[in-house]
Symmetry: C2
Subunit: 502 residues, 2 copies
């Protein structure tokens, strides 16, 4: 059995790899399991060094990798080269976060005459299964956020390669493994597997301690259910995404042409295959928003080439689903080029149709959006309450807007999403300390977690408290003499390695 990738521009086969055999699978799991305590015992500063070295290796092979990726994804050389730079930046960030050490959450209650000493530290949970996403072949795939955060936290990783870019995935895995070996990381710290059933087996393998996934609702929910059927249930951090809403205020609508241009630029990024793609624009009645967006789309004249044949077909089906839900097509640009192309479309619906359970509130991957007009603030806020949980929302304001009014909308949006962007489109997700990429169910399966940003490490650790233990019995991060010079909380007060913080 083989897994084959295709060129979306031609539909022709690019690379075939063998599915992971039962024997290889069990070797990879055994190696990950053996590596777990060894990796947990490494210094965060060492893991930082490995991740920086992986980042360097990817940057050094930028051209080769972007070319390989383009053949399997049709995302274009510029975008892919940028994505490699982003991926390297992410790898470095997670390494730096590990070395900074706050993620260890070291909390020390010194002994008193009444109470014994207690120290609580976050320990790596063990091997993590990472399911690569189709739409970001680097940044959310083999060396992406999940892999980098898990290794940074001290957990071995077993990647299930995405079949759409299996050639690139295997090449990336080679690079990661070579660097880890060169850097002296424990054997088994990183593995990769191929095949559909192998992915199912991976989620159910007793060696695996957590699953990280970026992709569709359908697949994410299947993995979540599989993990919940295990004897020892494990967390599934599935970042799936839904419909990210954009609110346009009355004042912002005065420049509806500018808003429409920005909206089109955002929802056509990566051919509309971003999980943060804005899928619903809520504009004031009379703003002619739908027509303006349609006009902007015609000016942009995108030619979306989708990652897979299935995605291309799903775009057409998604437009039909929106029509079934009561939406009307304002513009439907049919592709002129060859390959797995898909239309780009703007639909309009009466806002009263946006009710919980409506098909209009389901995500449509691709460059397809819905525009609705609200006739009053009450109608707008009522509709916001009907939306599904989403990753991100945007609000577009203007100079005449009242601060309290905007603040109220920002607050209401914040109950439905993980990130509220003000006068910015939701599609840019910086990898920083403050990033939150994860929203209420069903956009993510664990809404308190993030798959991008410094707090991504928190998914792969579990706190353990040690009571009345001698220093010599403890891992270094838990020792009272603080050999790694970590920020700590001592008797309730934050303390840096060099003094008291608060």
């Amino acid at each position: 059995m083989t897994v084959t990738s295709f060129n979306p521009r031609s539909g022709k086969a690019v690379t075939s790899v063998q599915e992971t055999t039962a024997e290889q699978f069990s070797d990879i799991l055994r190696a990950a399991s053996t590596a777990a305590p060894a990796l947990a015992a490494t210094r965060p500063a060492d893991r930082q060094r490995w991740l920086h070295a992986i980042a360097d290796a990817f940057e050094a092979r930028r051209e080769e990798l972007a070319e390989l990726a383009d053949r399997e994804t049709a995302l274009g050389s510029d975008r892919l080269t940028n994505e490699i730079a982003r991926t390297s930046g992410q790898l470095r960030l997670y390494g730096d976060v590990a070395a900074e050490g706050s993620y260890l959450g070291v909390t020390l209650d010194e002994p008193t005459t009444d109470a014994s000493g207690l120290v609580r530290v976050n320990r790596p949970i063990g091997p993590v299964a990472v399911f690569g996403a189709s739409n970001f072949p680097f940044a959310f795939s083999v060396p992406g956020n999940d892999t980098a955060a898990a290794i940074a936290a001290g957990c071995p990783v077993v990647v299930k390669a995405h079949p759409a870019h299996v050639g690139l995935s295997m090449r990336q895995a080679e690079i990661v493994q070579a660097v880890l070996r060169e850097q002296g990381a424990p054997e088994g710290a990183f593995g990769i597997v191929n095949g559909h059933q192998v992915g199912v087996d991976l989620v159910q393998a007793s060696e695996i301690a957590a699953v990280a996934f970026t992709g569709s609702q359908d697949v994410g929910m299947r993995l979540w259910r599989l993990a919940n059927e295990r004897d020892v249930v494990i967390p599934v951090y599935a970042e799936m995404g839904t419909v990210n809403p954009v609110v346009v205020t009355g004042s912002a609508a005065k420049d509806i042409t500018g808003v429409a241009d920005g909206f089109v630029e955002s929802f056509t990024l990566g051919h509309g295959q971003f999980c943060t793609k804005p899928g619903l624009l809520l504009a004031p009645a009379g703003s002619r928003a739908a027509e303006e967006v349609a006009g902007a789309l015609r000016r942009a004249a995108p030619e979306p080439v989708m990652l897979t044949r299935a995605i291309a077909e799903s775009v057409v089906a998604g437009i039909e689903r929106l029509k079934d839900g009561g939406a009307h097509v304002v513009e439907n640009l049919r592709p002129k080029t060859q390959g797995w192309t898909a239309p780009a479309a703007v639909l309009r619906a009466d806002i009263s149709a946006l009710k919980r359970g409506s098909r209009l509130l389901e995500e449509c991957f691709g460059a397809v959006v819905l525009v609705c007009e609200y006739r009053s603030d009450e109608e707008l806020t009522d509709v916001l309450d009907e939306l599904q949980g989403a990753l991100a929302a945007s609000i577009m304001t203007g100079p005449e807007d009242d601060d309290a009014h905007v603040g109220g909308l920002v607050s209401r949006l914040s109950r439905k999403v993980g990130r509220v962007a003000c006068n910015q489109w939701p599609t840019g997700v910086g990898y920083t300390w403050a990033q939150q990429h994860g929203g209420p169910w069903p956009s993510t399966s664990v809404p308190s977690a993030t798959s991008v940003g410094a707090y991504g490490l928190d998914r792969f650790v579990r706190p353990v408290a040690f009571q009345s233990a001698h220093d010599t019995w403890l891992p270094p991060e838990a020792r009272s003499d603080n050999p790694w010079q970590l920020p700590r909380r001592i008797n309730g007060r934050l303390v840096s390695s060099s003094g008291i913080a608060s």
Copy 2:
């Protein structure tokens, strides 16, 4: 329909209350839902004040409450009076943790020429359903850890009263509600419901954002499954407990009589109805540990009166289950007193019978323990790998023990539990900053969470990032001028309200 509590000493009815009607239920949910944004907008320092006032109110009614509790639980006046003091202490701790503000996780990336400003803060998730435990009628019940942590984090609470102490629960609810009203908390910040089906409906109510539970595997798993069947799945923080193991080293076994006395004292606490009860003692071969524990048990001569008839029956069934699993009774003290009494028993099994899936590894509530002897270090460590995830473990060492050997055992135990106690029994769970009360599946449903200690608040918040927002649009905790003087992380560095920390 009514819910009736009974006196475990006589089996006679104590209090009957009406089950919550459908109308009352919907009123309580509506009130909680309305209170949620109001509560989220309060200052942590205000919630600290409320929680301290509730603590004062409970302490002022200590005698009345302990007497009421004793009639429904038979736990005895001393223990119950101590538990009230503990409960008040917990309430104050969670208030103090809220006021300190680190739980808000304020993280600020200042804008740069390349990137927009971003601030991430933890926001309250909304109404929390708290299922009171039978075995701690105060500390893990109506005003217990879950309720206090949820209110501290800014979430309304709806308690499902435990039927075994329904009279006490309603009285406690009266006190909590009176104090909250007096303190000016939003109406609906706290509610209580009664009835089995009402509990099921509560988990499935769309207004509820999370469930906190302390109790049996059976009920905890049912709640977890119910929540997973919702349209919008919500987290269930179920603290269920399993078999907490104790390892006795060769050196510690030289005083096996002392170990046995301590073990008996620990496992008979609260008539063996602690979720941290040590249920399995692993001692070196030839230590005569089982006989010594049996002797210590005869000297202690406990007369366990269980919380409910069902628990009393489950103790007898649990002993039979251990026998079915291959254990032999060394001592089985049958109760002499009246009421819902249960035996106290010591069983022994060959260590080779402790295999994954064995009935010997299932929890037996009550003063029943299993003792096994290990013939080599390898046999011991192999057995530790077979154990289920548990809340806590103890290791008893002696002066001749090698530090590296003890460290290895501590490390191995730490992979199986949330807390490792060294030369202390696991039954004391301090409510402090560093406490961790929650272990790997299936001892808790979310092993990264704790139901006791400062980090308990983290269960009831969800991070939201605000991108490029004006200060005036943001909640106070997210504003750049830091009006609440919170500890923050700015551009990756921990900063106290008065300066830089690391």
